[in-house]
């Protein structure tokens, strides 16, 4: 282990810096890695929320996080997906649920069966065959039992208020042995040769030195861009919005168990319920003046908004996420459009790809190349998923008209083309979104495939009909068996009051 990294310094703020600290400490602490965090002042407000994807839960499990405690401490909530509705009156609402739709019919996949039935006049929407979406619509939490596991796949994410989540991760990291320094600002120190980062000087003059650095400083990317001068590729032209409004509103009595995303003529607005409040995001273009944007947001939310803040937003990717002895994670590496809430997913991707490539000696050029290749691919897959949401939209208004005309990658063009032609999802390496997600997105935006997998034509029409009925019946029955979101949150809260027991995982 000659020359292996011994001192990792993570610089940044908010949940990304502390998630990084927790992950690096628990995975590589046993290998002798010392993890130090230099924490910058937070950039969060009460309105900020992490609307997470299902992948966060297994990462938490690896950190031996007790979910009930987390939800209770952060006053977070569960989410089974996102519901997209159109207030411009053009398109039907659809659900992007975190679960599979339908079940195999006569030993063939569900989607081509549905497409066929649809072409023959079936009036039932694709999402109505999704158990997860049905549970969400009925305000029920969905926990799989053996019957549901045989039927299909279901999962969930969270709405985590950002300030308490960051605080909670900080506490966890410190408890596990991470060292913390605070500083209002930084001076970045270079090695004598001048090519690598040597450390940072804090505002009180102390120096924190290390041999490897994680830049979690957000879109400013203080180390990777600020000091190592890594250039950025702008995705500005691919997305119609460059402003984000955040606000909060008091929690409503019966909190939905999903994110409610509403398209208006000048952008979209999302409501993310947590136990603390309803977190509101409105994404729009700077062509709309701020005071108009606030009016639009209030009209779309139909709630009285508090703590309104408007921020500029500029999506794009650093050409290298790892340069010299510094890896940028989260927004320091890539800033995504706010649709689908992928910020924490991006942080997580940065970390889980880093672990198996973390330097084993002083020469890690090949690991760095691999990491940069993987992250570019993973980030572009996410961007394409978001991009599809805009180019496929059927909403009214100049914002959406422009969105339909934004340029797309050749990969996405192929993906939509093949789906439109056959209902087949082209699925590449490094995807964050599953085939189920892509199906929900493209069908939701009204891409009805022109043909279907010929394998389903052998199924007799009567069997197809009875199977479709059976699936609907199953979903009705299982939804009724589930507890309401409120009941589930209460039980989580009760469980978290029990004596502390760290969750065991292998």
């Amino acid at each position: 282990m000659n020359g292996a990294v011994q001192d990792l310094v993570i610089v940044g703020r908010d949940a990304p810096v502390w998630l990084a600290a927790c992950v690096m400490q628990s995975a590589l602490g046993p290998a002798g890695l010392r993890v130090t965090v230099v924490e910058l002042p937070d950039a969060l407000g009460a309105a900020d929320v992490y609307a997470t994807l299902p992948a966060l839960e297994p990462l938490h499990a690896r950190l031996r996080v007790e979910e009930a405690r987390l939800i209770s401490a952060t006053r977070g909530a569960f989410t089974l997906g996102k519901r997209f509705q159109d207030t411009t009156g053009q398109a039907a609402a659809f659900f992007h649920a975190y679960g599979s739709t339908g079940a195999r019919i006569d030993n063939t996949e569900f989607l081509p069966n549905w497409i066929k039935a649809r072409h023959y006049g079936l009036p039932v929407a694709f999402e109505d065959f999704c158990l997860t979406a049905a549970a969400a619509t009925h305000g029920r939490m969905l926990l799989p039992d053996a019957e549901i596991e045989r039927h299909g796949f279901t999962d969930y994410g969270y709405h985590l208020p950002a300030i308490p989540y960051a605080a909670w991760l900080r506490q966890l990291a410190l408890h596990r042995g991470v060292v913390r320094h605070e500083s209002q600002e930084l001076e970045i120190l270079m090695t004598p040769g001048g090519s690598d980062i040597a450390g940072v000087r804090l505002d009180d003059g102390r120096r924190v030195l290390g041999d490897f650095f994680i830049d979690a400083t957000g879109a400013g990317s203080l180390l990777l861009a600020g000091r190592l001068a890594v250039a950025r590729e702008s995705w500005r032209d691919s997305f119609p919005a460059d402003r984000i409004l955040v606000a909060h509103a008091p929690p409503v009595s019966s909190q939905p168990i999903y994110a409610d995303v509403r398209a208006g003529e000048n952008g979209w607005l999302a409501l993310h319920p947590s136990q603390a409040c309803t977190h509101v995001i409105h994404s729009f273009s700077s062509e709309t003046p701020n005071h108009r944007a606030i009016e639009n947001a209030e009209r779309l939310a139909r709630l009285e908004l508090q703590g309104v803040e408007i921020r500029a937003h500029d999506p794009g990717r650093r050409l290298l996420a790892w340069q010299r002895n510094c890896v940028a994670i989260g927004e320091a590496a890539c800033t995504f459009d706010p649709i689908h809430g992928v910020d924490l997913q991006a942080v997580q991707l940065g970390l889980v790809h880093l672990l198996p490539l973390f330097p084993v000696d002083s020469d890690y050029a090949v690991e760095r190349d691999e990491y940069n290749k993987n992250l570019q691919s993973a980030f572009e897959r996410i961007r394409d998923f978001q991009s599809a949401h805009y180019v496929l939209n059927r909403y009214r208004g100049a914002f959406w008209e422009r969105a339909r005309l934004t340029p797309v990658s050749s990969d996405l063009l192929r993906r939509v083309g093949v789906f439109r032609a056959r209902g087949e999802v082209v699925h590449y390496e490094d995807e964050s979104f599953s085939i189920d997600d892509w199906q929900a997105l493209m069908l939701g935006h009204g891409v009805l495939p022109e043909t279907w997998d010929p394998a389903v034509d052998r199924t007799p029409p009567d069997l197809l009909k009875s199977e479709l009925r059976r699936i609907l019946g199953f979903i009705r029955r299982k939804v009724e068996e589930q507890r309401s979101h409120a009941e589930y949150l209460q039980s989580a809260s009760a469980a978290s009051a029990a004596p502390h027991r760290e969750r065991r995982v292998d």
């Binding site: 292996a4 590589l28 290998a31 690991e367 192929r414 043909t451 010929p454």
Partner: protein, 512 residues
């Protein structure tokens, strides 16, 4: 169902043609698709002893083929992997198993635990002794994998069989399910003057066959895709210089292995494929480095049984058609490309091509060629060919056979960038590629990388979480479990004799 059925015409009756016909007959609705296969009794098929990959079991399952019957009729044996002899350098050998090495411990791949144990002086056993499949190969043992519990390490299996008999087996199967077989030699292929689509075939007898969609399974000749439609050929012989094979069966020997053997030679390599009734052998060689006579003598000199007939010569070039689906024609099998059978990928490429084709096939309502679907088929095929190509090249480049022109040449050339990078990652830290579709799997890469004598400089530090004394104990327990697991397995010869016997079929074994 108002539209008239779409007529699919398959040209060629080897394994590619009949596998395609059988799959179409199973999957497609007979009122919507009409199936015809044209083959000529005058044209031989390449069919020799064929070694396969575990995926072939999925194909047989799709057709709901009874395994014991299929094995009886094709003289099949079980295959747990491939043994490579002398590939690194003379005297060295390793097995690429259809199974894992060790287990994931704490989410960390086994090779890191094993390398750590070596570097920390725990003296673990050789890596292969932590693979149940390799140990079973070493002892000529076989048992069906237990899908419900794992006694030691997980594994799968494939088959060796007579490809000619397999084609006949599928021919009977397909004809019984409505495929129309036409005997005859294709003399001419007619194109639509406007679209450039194939409209029909003229046979030597003068008979014509009209069709909507054509499958070129005509082998190296590539009558439709290559000859008529001019799909360009991409040549890979600079990476894979072998261009000839001599094949000959010999009498079955006492050594009845549950694996294929591949033995490196001065200017190529020799395969050995055990079947029930005989052993298939062949010498793959580079014709510019060795004469046919010498190659033949080398082959015959290494048989472990009496040769049955004269060696048959096959000529080929490594490479593939750039557009495997062009106009209304898809190439399946050798008509679409060729990669030497070093990793038994021939039938896998056929199977994968058929499966992708079936999903993307034109329909009776939408007969015209949809470029979106053809393009997707070609994208998938390209990716598959390139991955297999890289994996094959790996066997050649990582050798220490100095002073032999073939082996010196393959060590010296510039690798595809994709492969070069993988080798460096492995050398640095034992990192192996991962593909979503698992082809080839991490364990396959591991087997060949370690087998070719490469040893990483370091292990992944994620493995450090296990205290050394616990690691030592865990390795010992696993080693013992692999050994006792395989000790309890019957011999491959016994399993074949009982399972394939018509009088006393060995059904229960498969169920335990």
């Amino acid at each position: 169902m108002a539209h008239s059925p779409l007529h699919i015409v398959i040209v060629g009756g080897g394994s590619a043609g009949w596998m395609c016909a059988a799959a179409c007959a199973q999957v497609l609705h007979p009122d919507r698709y009409r199936l015809t296969l044209v083959e000529s009794d005058d044209i031989g098929t390449v069919g020799v002893g064929e070694a396969t990959l575990p995926a072939l079991r999925d194909f047989n399952t799709l057709l709901r083929i009874d395994e014991a019957q299929f094995m009886r009729e094709t003289q099949a044996t079980f295959k747990l992997g491939i043994e490579f002899r002398n590939w690194d350098r003379p005297g060295e050998h390793y097995v690429h198993p259809f199974g894992s090495f060790g287990q994931l411990w704490g989410g960390v791949e086994f090779q890191h635990h094993w390398m750590r144990a070596r570097q920390r002086g725990l003296n673990p056993a050789p890596l292969e002794e932590y693979s149940c499949a390799v140990r079973a190969c070493r002892r000529n043992s076989f048992d069906f994998p237990d899908l419900k519990s794992t006694r030691s390490t997980v594994y799968g299996y494939a088959y060796h069989f007579d490809a000619g008999l397999y084609a006949q087996f599928l021919r009977r199967w397909a004809i019984a399910r409505g495929v129309k077989r036409i005997e005859g030699q294709v003399m001419d292929v007619a194109l639509n003057g406007q679209s450039g689509d194939i409209t029909g075939l003229t046979l030597k007898s003068g008979a014509t066959i009209q069709g909507d969609f054509f499958v070129d399974a005509s082998g190296f000749r590539s009558l439709l895709l290559g000859d008529k439609l001019g799909s360009p050929w991409e040549d890979w012989t600079h990476w894979l210089p072998c261009d000839r094979a001599l094949a000959v069966p010999c009498e079955r020997s006492a050594d009845f292995t549950p694996f294929t053997r591949s033995i490196a030679q001065r200017a190529g390599w020799i395969w050995r494929i055990p079947l029930q009734h005989r052993t298939g052998n062949g010498h793959v060689f580079a014709s510019r480095l060795i004469s046919e006579d010498e190659a033949c003598a080398t082959l015959l000199g290494q048989l472990d049984g009496q040769a049955m007939g004269e060696p048959k010569l096959l000529r080929f070039r490594a490479g593939r058609r750039v557009e495997t689906w062009k106009r209304n024609c898809v190439g399946i099998g050798l008509a679409s490309g060729f990669l030497e059978p070093l990793e038994s990928t021939s039938l896998f490429l056929i199977q994968q091509g058929i499966q992708d084709m079936l999903r993307l096939l034109p329909t009776p309502e939408a007969r015209g060629i949809d470029e979106r679907l053809a393009g997707e088929f070609n994208r998938r095929t390209d990716a598959l060919y390139e991955r297999i190509r890289d994996f094959l090249i790996l066997h050649y480049v990582a050798n220490r056979r100095h002073g032999e022109p073939l082996w010196d040449h393959v060590r010296s050339y510039a690798l595809p960038e994709s492969l070069q990078h993988k080798l460096e990652l492995f050398a640095s830290r034992g990192h192996v590629p991962y593909f979503k579709d698992g082809f080839f799997s991490r364990d396959s890469w591991l087997a060949v990388l370690f087998g070719q004598g490469l040893m990483p400089r370091a292990y992944d530090r994620l493995a450090d979480f296990i205290p050394l004394e616990d690691l030592d104990a865990q390795l010992r327990v696993l080693h013992t479990r692999v050994a006792t697991h395989v000790d309890d397995m019957p011999s491959h010869a016994d399993v074949i004799a009982r399972y394939c016997s018509e009088t006393e079929p060995l059904r229960q074994v498969a169920m335990t």
